[in-house]
Symmetry: C2
């Protein structure tokens, strides 16, 4: 099959790779209907995370089940499935508590790389969720978004305790931040402040439900959020970047007693204890347990109640994955969908 | 009047001080029935916090209202009252949300120092809670505990989402940690693991409700908590120290999806973002909004359902405050009650 491999920062190639096969009896192999490039793929692409060896890329996937292992019970060949970046058994105590991304059997779901024609998915029964029948083709981008960025934005909103009557601020205007806006709206937020400096993203945020835009960053951004919230700060803040600046912007934008949900993978972040103590905020986040939300998200997409696939503003054949990375790196694209 | 003043690390004196008087129309002056030395008083006493000028000490108090300002409506002279270390209007949006220690009009409740015969209390109506009639004298230590250490331990337990069926770990065996054990029991915890190395405290913890004792600290303490919780960690962890080691011990003792409630005033703490991200814990804490819990705590004490006054294992006349500090500093006493 053809698959994407990162050789070094900036050097991503599509090449012939071994066809994935069932290795564990709990595996499935899926034929990808669509895949995409994640903001987190840019960390190694930019050299911020090391690239120690040629690495198959991609962890977002939807497609048709081709084959299942002998112990797979509920997932069947021919089903259209969506899954998350971490595999989970979905039966352990942590899974049942809603933390499938901390499953005691957690592993990468698609070790073979999902930016490819086929992928082997671990712990298929616990990881994959089948759609009711084959989806309309125009729904595939939205289902692909559910695989990671929508589920992650959703968890950010849940972790930030978004709900009716609340004012929500979203730090970060990548696909996750934009879909956190969508999640906040679905969860009933009264007011949603999107913090965004980039024009195409500023246009999409209101379509997803943002009521206010703040273009300032850092302390100036915090001051604007305070101005918009009677001096107190937002009830809920969703952090979707993962830097020191964005975390502090999020914490400082929340009111005492407010909730910060953080889903940007933290890079070189150290939170000052004294400031956190006196901020009185709640802090929760981490790798989003997307599996928990997939049934609900698949339902909303099937009902056409939400259209998260709009975050894909560039669609390319898999063979042009390198251009897909480049466009995101240069901020010419919010998110690139790849057609295998 | 006589009052306690800290001149320099280790140098605490009881001396003649001006009698507190009404300064703002919202003030009250109370005649203290009892006061005490707080673990947090030891930070400047030990020189860990700077002592820039002679400082009147003490922020825990119960007593009889002597006089009130012209705008005080609900608090009356002759009432026996309990209050918290921060004054609050108890009417602003943050107070109504339960965060009186982040009240928009927050100030120190007893700027004149509560380790004294009299104290001026700011924002009397919002800060003080009157007991139903004069309490029995033997209840005074417990009511004094409610003023800070009990309310703080209680908030730690609430912030850690302690509840029925949960396993709770408590990091720190000072008065706050011990009363967090008591709070966890009152809030219905199934199992309460007290982490304590000091014998008198190890004896008190089970009396307050601890079901298990862990004497190891740091990584070894974490390993013991994991052993006791099927490898997963506690559902709820209460942190009652405020150091880097204790915060990390608390975070690492909690299971993914678990809750850490931290009430030890943070000193030189920096939380590593990556570890926090993948820990999947909830983090909440800060200066305890004791005011929120006072009516309930006063009720429990009046009913003799709880006996938090047991944390006072040394009682001295106010004149011997210096010995009270010294005994706590040298860990000869858990907490010193001072009789004005």
């Amino acid at each position: 099959m053809r698959g994407t491999v990162l050789y070094a920062p900036g050097d991503v190639r599509v090449e012939d790779r071994p066809d994935p096969r069932i290795e564990q009896p709990t595996d499935a192999v899926i034929h990808l209907a669509a895949t995409c490039v994640c903001g987190s793929d840019l960390w190694p692409y930019r050299g911020i995370e090391p690239v120690n060896q040629p690495t198959p890329m991609g962890h977002e996937y939807v497609g048709i089940v081709e084959e299942v292992g002998s112990e797979v019970r509920t997932i069947k060949p021919g089903q259209f499935v969506v899954g998350s970046f971490f595999a989970s058994d979905n039966t352990c105590e942590l899974c049942r508590a809603g933390y499938q991304t901390s499953c005691v059997h957690r592993e990468f779901a698609a070790a073979t790389g999902a930016q490819a024609q086929y992928a082997r998915i671990a712990l298929a029964d616990g990881t994959l969720v089948a759609t009711p029948g084959l989806p309309d083709p125009d729904l595939i981008p939205s289902l692909l978004a559910a695989s990671d960025v929508l589920g992650t934005g959703w968890f950010g909103a849940v972790a930030a305790e978004v709900g009716p009557g609340k004012t929500v601020a979203v730090v970060g205007d990548g696909a996750v931040g934009l879909l956190a806006v969508l999640a906040a709206r679905q969860l009933g937020a009264e007011r949603i402040i999107a913090m965004s400096r980039h024009e195409p993203r500023q246009k999409l945020a209101p379509e997803f439900g943002a009521t206010d835009l703040v273009t300032e960053r850092g302390d100036e951004g915090v001051a604007r959020v305070k101005e918009l919230t009677g001096g107190l700060g937002a009830h809920s803040v969703i952090e979707a970047v993962g830097t020191q600046e964005s975390m502090m912007q999020a914490i400082r934008s929340a009111r005492p007693g407010g909730h910060v949900g953080y889903v940007g993978v933290a890079h070189d972040v150290a939170l000052p204890g004294e400031e956190l103590f006196f901020s009185h905020v709640h802090l929760h986040g981490g790798p989003a347990p997307v599996r928990q939300y997939l049934p609900e998200l698949i339902g909303l997409i099937g009902d056409r109640a939400i259209d998260p696939g709009k975050v894909f503003d560039l669609t390319l054949p898999l063979e042009q994955a390198a251009e897909g990375y480049k466009a995101m790196d240069e901020r010419r694209a919010i998110k690139t969908l790849l057609q295998p």
